[in-house]
């Protein structure tokens, strides 16, 4: 794994890692991302009077907040795949078919969320898929492209899962989010397998390259509703059998380096 890391991320040094970390910190504490998400905090009723938000005027505030959070991730993914498909970095054949499928799904998710949110939908941010130069250009290096894709998909799964509780009072949106959540998991499995990994995540995914390590923090949990699920078929299977959620804050910390 270390060898692969050196091969793939030969340009990645301690300094750039620090830069990535400090960027993340800056964005977390009130950078552009905070601005982008501020709209989600406006009460639905207020937003409705401020514009012709007829379509979504009845959306409860918590739903708006979650859907805009989801929309940001879907913008991130769809922009990534739209650029990836156009860049020519993806080999023709199966790999290209896989990413075309994922691309079309992410764009469909964006369209769905924008429609649901109406005028309350946040606009598409500008993205920097080198994370400010912290990682090589994924549109010129297919290995990097796949690593970033895996990070986005596995983060997406954990992000949607983490919002299930917030959507619990809102059946329609909970179900809608779950029907996206499982598709992200299908994507994640396929991208992982294109990289030669299993489709599921052992422990905290020790094989995950450094730039996407944060995606797997806490994924090795074996306590499910008080049951030690590592006791049935070993710890590895126990961790693989359950995907863990990420908080909104954790997800934003992972995504923010890619928001220009």
């Amino acid at each position: 794994m270390t060898r692969d890391l050196h091969r793939i991320f030969h340009g990645l040094d301690e300094q750039s890692l620090d830069r990535l970390a400090s960027r993340r910190e800056a964005l977390r504490s009130g950078g552009r991302l905070a601005g982008a998400f501020a709209l989600g905090a406006i009460p639905a009723a207020l937003a409705a009077t401020a514009s012709d938000a007829f379509a979504s005027s009845s959306l409860p505030g918590p739903v708006v907040r979650v859907l805009n959070f989801a929309l940001t991730l879907e913008y991130l993914e769809s922009s990534f795949y739209n650029r990836g498909i156009n860049s020519g970095v993806i080999p023709a054949g199966k790999d290209r078919r896989v990413f075309e499928t994922i691309q079309s799904h992410e764009n469909a998710h964006v369209a769905f969320l924008k429609k649901a949110l109406g005028s309350q939908a946040i606009s598409r941010p500008e993205f920097d898929f080198t994370a400010g130069g912290a990682i090589p250009n994924p549109f010129k290096n297919y290995e990097v492209f796949k690593i970033v894709a895996q990070g986005f998909e596995d983060t997406g799964v954990r992000a949607y899962k983490g919002q299930a509780g917030a959507l619990k009072p809102y059946d329609t949106y909970l179900t809608a989010a779950l029907t996206i959540h499982s598709v992200e998991a299908r994507h994640a499995s396929e991208v992982r397998r294109l990289r030669g990994e299993d489709g599921w995540i052992p422990f905290e995914d020790p094989a995950a390259p450094a730039p996407i390590k944060a995606t797997y923090a806490g994924d090795g949990n074996l306590n499910q509703l008080g049951v030690d699920v590592g006791g049935f078929h070993g710890a590895k299977a126990g961790t693989e059998a359950f995907d863990e959620p990420l908080t909104r804050e954790d997800v934003l910390a992972i995504a923010s380096p890619f928001i220009a």
Binding site: T175, T179, G199, V229, E240
Partner: protein, 256 residues
């Protein structure tokens, strides 16, 4: 271990037993519906209130019927037992697959099937442990429709199980009242989706045929899983009785 969230009824969360009369039965949706299972049920002398043996599949198991099991969906225990039933079915299937690997299996396919078998056993044991005394008994399975020596037959059945599992959790989630149970279901459904993706891929099907997965009603799940379950399983108080599911436009592909 879990706390039931009832609507105030002072009844057992899960009832296991025969219905009092044919009139009662008429109100309940019947799971299995296979003629064979019904016919064998008549000859079955096992007490329906007695938990059956654990579903360890064998050649003879497909001919075994473990009485009747009723799952009352009026509360979270019922919904979790519904999930437990599905996980029992999946675990039993993959145990049989791994015990009798089809000839010509690739190392990739074997790795996938062995991993999935472990995950489904973990899911099954998780529900069994978490539900404790509220858990339904082990179900008898009927894999007579699966040719375990055939790659195509095994992988197609696996695809049905995994896609159905995804749709089942997606559809049941909104009926869970306890947020911790909802999260637990969410932790499992994405793993089922990972399975579905891998199985579909090695089958040469699309790993993700739709941008939105299905959210199935309890009845739809039963219709798909029922043919593989020899036990006579019935549902009561289904919140989706008579409803049509939220389905994706390309759902026919999911059924294939």
């Amino acid at each position: 271990m879990l706390t039931p969230h009832t609507r105030g009824e002072d009844e057992r969360a899960v009832e296991v037993g025969l219905f009092r009369s044919p009139t009662d039965r008429r109100n309940f949706l019947k799971w299995s519906g296979t003629a064979a299972a019904t016919a064998l049920l008549i000859a079955c002398d096992q007490s329906p209130t007695e938990p059956s043996t654990a579903p360890v599949p064998s050649e003879s198991q497909t001919q075994k019927v473990a009485g009747q099991v009723a799952i009352d969906l009026k509360n979270d225990f019922g919904i979790l037992n519904f999930a437990y039933a599905l996980e029992q079915l999946e675990a039993a299937f993959y145990i049989q697959v791994v015990r009798q690997l089809y000839s010509g299996i690739t190392s990739e396919e074997e790795g996938i099937l062995r991993d999935i078998k472990k995950h489904e056993v973990v899911h099954r044991e998780f529900f069994k442990t978490a539900l404790g005394s509220a858990a339904i008994p082990g179900l008898a399975v009927d894999f007579s429709a699966v040719n375990f020596t055939s790659r195509e037959s095994v992988l197609l059945a696996a695809k049905v199980f995994e896609d159905t599992g995804v749709g089942a959790y997606n559809g049941a989630a909104k009926f869970l009242r306890n947020g911790d149970y909802l999260l637990a279901a969410g932790k499992i459904v994405s793993v089922e989706a990972r399975h579905a993706s891998a199985i579909r891929d090695v089958l040469g099907r699309s790993f993700a045929p739709n941008a939105f997965d299905s959210a199935l009603t309890f009845e739809q799940v039963l219709r798909r899983a029922g043919p593989f379950i020899a036990t006579d399983v019935t549902l009561t108080n289904s919140p989706t009785a008579g409803q049509t599911a939220q389905r994706s436009s390309g759902d026919e592909e999911m059924d294939s």
